[in-house]
């Protein structure tokens, strides 16, 4: 095959790029192209094949053929290198990791072709494809806007809240358009998280806009003058650019922190808070209802005692009619005591038990939210581990320990899968929770309505009975002569 390609394929007129290294500079560029080709072909040997296919197919802009040419690189210094800059660009941008971890210029300078096995730390094949598919051009289909600067709070505790709107058709996001409110310190926090994760392994993490104490203080103090509006506008634009740059970075886009920043995980926070409040209120109500049950039972007991006492009084009363009336009163009170008892049961079994059931249900809901957090943490941890493994791999490359390298590669594969799984799990659980919460709320509403109405009906019955009893007693009382 090599023989076939002896003549620079340039003659074919194919736009495939061919790098010829003549000096260090080119060397470097070819390094890049080397990298580009390597994802698809970890082995130098396969490169030719690709090369051929590329040559024959033509259009695979991401594939830059550079294989044995490397050998040629050194051999044929005279070969021309045609670098099609325009074509290079997409390659560059689509390359998940332009500044590749394991590959440093030094690596290439050292004529170790095996280093081709530098698999560019492509994150996910899947997303890479996705990105490649989508992007014939510059952008993946995700757009961030920062708008609506709004002052929140008062005095020195005030801050500006910006609306971050994301428009995307990427499948990894659950919605195609969503927005959240974030403040400047949130952006800074995001950057610091990303930086701590990625910078030390070589990714260029776009920097966040700078803090400005003077500018911010003016805003806080509330000066509505042009300088502070200007400041806010400058900042808003800077934040927007910052986010745009960040999401254009395929690796960073995958990061869970960034995802959380963009997406409305606020929904979850809000809901959690709501459930917390609901829990509190239900507990209070439950306590009051329990007190009611207790007092009603007491009332029932006391009414029974009074009934007996009244009966005794009636017995000793020597005026016949009054005596009879008192006995009747005693009977009425006895019946009423029964009523109170039944009502107490209703209080308890309908109202009180409903409340305690829901208090326990809400504890379960809270547990579910906690699980989600754990899931997220797992995902995050897997991601960090993956990066570490890559780091290890790179080190092994440098140290040139082929066996360890293989092990590292295996581990990387393993952790890539875990990260994917983690992300899937997290999204799954989030989706499920949303659905479940909706279902729970609907059920709760129905439950409460039904039970409370039933309870009120029990109260109605009690009153109706009371009326009956007292109506029966009244003529007796009137009959006292």
């Amino acid at each position: 095959m090599a023989a076939e390609r002896e003549p620079p394929p340039l003659g074919d007129g194919k736009p495939t790029d061919f790098e010829e290294l003549e000096d260090g500079e080119d060397l470097f560029t070819s390094t890049v192209s080397t990298l580009e080709s390597s994802p698809s072909s970890p082995e130098p040997a396969s490169l030719p094949a690709e090369d051929v296919s590329t040559n024959s197919n033509g259009r695979k802009p991401a594939e830059v053929v550079l294989d044995d040419d490397r050998e040629d690189l050194f051999a044929e210094a005279t070969e021309e290198v045609s670098l099609d800059s325009p074509e290079r660009e997409p390659i560059l941008s689509s390359e998940p990791s332009p500044a590749v971890t394991p590959v440093t210029p030094t690596t290439l300078i050292a004529p170790r072709m095996e280093s081709k096995s530098i698999s560019a730390p492509v994150i996910f094949d899947r997303s890479r494809e996705e990105i490649e598919e989508e992007a014939n051009g510059d952008v993946f289909d995700i757009e961030i806007g920062v708008s609506d600067p709004e002052k929140v709070g008062d005095g020195m505790n005030a801050y500006m809240a910006y609306r971050v709107t994301t428009k995307t058709s990427l499948s990894m996001f659950s919605k195609s358009e969503f927005s959240v409110k974030r403040r400047f310190s949130d952006f800074l926090g995001l950057h610091s998280k990303l930086a701590s994760k990625y910078l030390h392994v070589g990714y260029i993490v776009p920097p966040a806009p700078e803090k400005s104490i003077v500018g911010m203080t003016k805003v806080k103090v509330g000066k509505e003058d042009s300088s502070s509006t200007e400041f806010v506008e400058k900042r808003r634009a800077a934040l927007e650019r910052y986010l745009q740059r960040t999401v254009k970075h395929p690796t960073l886009l995958q990061d869970p922190d960034l995802r959380q920043f963009l997406e409305s995980s606020e929904w979850f926070e809000e809901k959690q808070q709501q459930f917390e409040n609901l829990d509190q209120q239900l507990r209070k109500l439950h306590a009051s209802v329990e007190a009611l049950v207790c007092h009603r039972k007491e009332l029932s007991a006391n009414t029974a005692a009074f009934a007996k006492s009244a009966a005794m009084l009636g017995n000793s009363e020597d005026h016949t009619a009054l005596s009879r009336a008192l006995s009747q009163l005693a009977e009425v009170e006895e019946k009423i005591d029964q009523l109170h008892q039944e009502q107490a049961f209703a209080d308890f079994y309908m109202f009180s038990e409903l409340l305690s059931d829901y208090i326990r249900l809400i504890a379960a809901v809270k547990g579910v939210f906690d699980h989600r957090m754990k899931c997220w943490q797992k995902w995050e941890d897997a991601q960090i581990t993956l990066l570490k493994k890559r780091e290890t791999e790179a080190k092994m490359m440098v140290a040139n320990k082929p066996d360890k390298i293989q092990q590292a590669k295996n581990e990387i594969r393993e952790w890539e899968a875990k990260v994917q799984q983690g992300e899937r799990d997290f999204e799954q659980i989030s989706k499920t929770i949303r659905k479940e919460v909706g279902r729970f709320e609907a059920k709760r509403v129905k439950d409460f309505k039904t039970v409370i109405i039933k309870y009120l009906e029990s109260l109605v019955q009690t009153q109706q009975q009371l009326i009956k009893y007292w109506e029966a007693f009244l003529p007796e009382a009137k009959a006292i002569a």
Partner: protein, 487 residues
């Protein structure tokens, strides 16, 4: 007119209530809607119609309460019209204002002497009653006059009756119990302290409750003092008592101080002796069946009334606690309703409203039961004690009489001091007979009064219970209709 000076309270509790004069005429919150200006009908009603039938409709400001035997002449003095703000519709007025004096309904009307308490002022630790008299008797300098009296002076008057030998044969109207606001004041104080720990709404609710409670106790104590005076005024003999006239007319302080320790100790011993004596004396079999029967009856009756009174008390108090719970449930439901974001919030708010309203009714039920039942029983506990005292005095005089007889016999036998013994014996005989005669009448009257009072109160109790139950029922049914309509 009732003036209720809240300056009585420690300022800490007072401050949130600084509502000024408006508060003097409480609106119809809680169980005791206003109209404190019941200014008793005094004892001057025409022969009481046998029954106060249906409850009086709420009197508009200034108008008369058309009925209620005891209230017949309440009209002119109701002028101050405290009937503000009936927030719960026409039927939720409690009848306690009419019923307060209904305990002892069968008071003979008499234009010759009408006594009532037209005004009362509650200060930190005492209550000042304005005793108002209208009389055509020649004994008084004027036809109409008022004096201010305190509780101790009522007690003095009562004791003077008890100690008067001439009145031995009568049932002395029981003394009114001391005004006791301690419990209420304590609660108010606690409320003031706990203000920070509850929502503003809860605080207002509880405050209203306690205010109403205080007002209720206040009215009750006024009523009981008034009843005492009316009984005295209605009694054919006692009304002529000089001390009574002084009490009514002398418009300066009677300088009746409360008994000091020594006197209280003396009283204590006297009581002990009396009860010991009573035991001895009661061992003496009475020749007269009537009295024998009465004695047995009264003994048993008194004990049972005591028991019934205590149990009734407890019952009404439980009732009140349950009503208070409704209050808290209502508040919680309200909080739930305002916090919730789903469509159940309207539901909660409606139910919360229901609980608030139903609670008011329940509280009134409890208050009415307290009035018609507990108070009735308590009063007759005291009266039956007074009747027992009468019987004791009679027995005592019987024993004295028999002893005098024996002494006379002995004297005759010895033929020494016969005349003395004879006089003594005659005196005793006279005394005994006098007592017996009046006692008999008194006891018969007692029975009549008792029967009438019970009748009146039981009827009113039943009517009120019915009214409240119906009101409750309507509330509940309305609410259910709305809720079912929504869902």
């Amino acid at each position: 007119m009732w003036v209720w000076a809240f300056g009585a309270f420690p300022t800490r509790v007072l401050r949130p209530w600084a509502e000024g004069p408006a508060f003097l005429f409480p609106t119809a919150h809680g169980p005791r809607p206003s109209a404190p200006g019941r200014g008793g009908a005094g004892c001057s009603e025409a022969p009481p119609p046998p029954a106060a039938t249906s409850p009086a409709p709420p009197a508009a400001a200034g108008s008369l309460r058309p009925r209620g035997a005891v209230r017949a002449c309440a009209g002119p003095r109701l002028g101050a019209a405290m009937m503000e703000g009936l927030d719960d519709g026409p039927d939720f007025l409690s009848e306690e204002d009419r019923g307060l004096k209904a305990i002892n309904v069968d008071l003979q009307s008499d234009a010759a002497l009408q006594v009532d308490i037209s005004d009362a002022l509650s200060e930190r630790d005492k209550v000042k009653f304005t005793v108002h008299t209208k009389s055509s008797l020649p004994n008084f300098k004027q036809n109409e006059f008022s004096v201010v009296r305190q509780h101790e002076e009522f007690i003095w008057l009562h004791d003077s009756f008890v100690e008067n030998e001439d009145y031995a044969g009568y049932i002395i109207p029981p003394a009114p119990p001391r005004p006791d606001f301690d419990a209420s004041r304590e609660k108010l104080q606690k409320l003031g302290e706990g203000e920070g720990s509850m929502t503003k709404e809860e605080f207002t609710k509880m405050k209203q409750e306690l205010e109403a409670e205080y007002l209720a106790i206040f009215k009750k104590t006024v009523a009981m003092h008034e009843v005492f005076l009316c009984r005295v005024a209605a009694h054919p003999i006692l009304r002529k008592d000089l001390n009574f006239h002084v009490f009514l007319e002398y418009n300066q302080d009677l300088s009746v101080r409360g008994k000091n320790k020594k006197e209280k100790l003396e009283d204590f011993f006297k009581n002990m002796v009396k009860s010991a004596d009573g035991v001895i004396v009661s061992g003496v079999k009475d020749v007269d069946d009537f009295f024998e029967h009465e004695r047995t009856f009264l003994l048993e009756y008194h004990n049972r009334v005591k028991d019934a009174s205590a149990k009734s008390d407890r019952m009404t108090r439980s009732h009140k606690s349950a009503a208070d719970d409704y209050n808290r449930i209502g508040s919680s439901l309200y909080a739930l309703g305002t916090q919730d974001s789903t469509d159940i919030c309207k539901f909660f708010l409606k139910v919360s409203e229901l609980f608030d309203k139903t609670r008011k009714i329940e509280a009134r039920v409890s208050a009415d039961e307290d009035l018609k039942l507990s108070d009735l029983l308590k009063y007759y506990l005291r009266e039956s004690q007074a009747a027992k005292d009468l019987l004791y005095r009679r027995s005592r005089s019987l024993v004295d009489y028999e002893n005098a007889n024996k002494a006379l016999d002995k004297a005759r036998a010895k033929n020494k001091d016969v005349l003395q013994a004879e006089t003594s014996q005659q005196l005793c005989c006279q005394k005994f007979e006098k007592i017996s005669e009046s006692a008999k009448q008194e006891l018969i009257d007692f029975k009549t009064r008792r029967v009438a009072a019970f009748r009146k109160n039981l009827v009113e109790l039943a009517e009120l219970e019915l009214k409240h139950a119906k009101g409750n029922l309507q509330l509940l049914q309305n609410c259910l209709a709305v809720l079912n309509g929504d869902t």
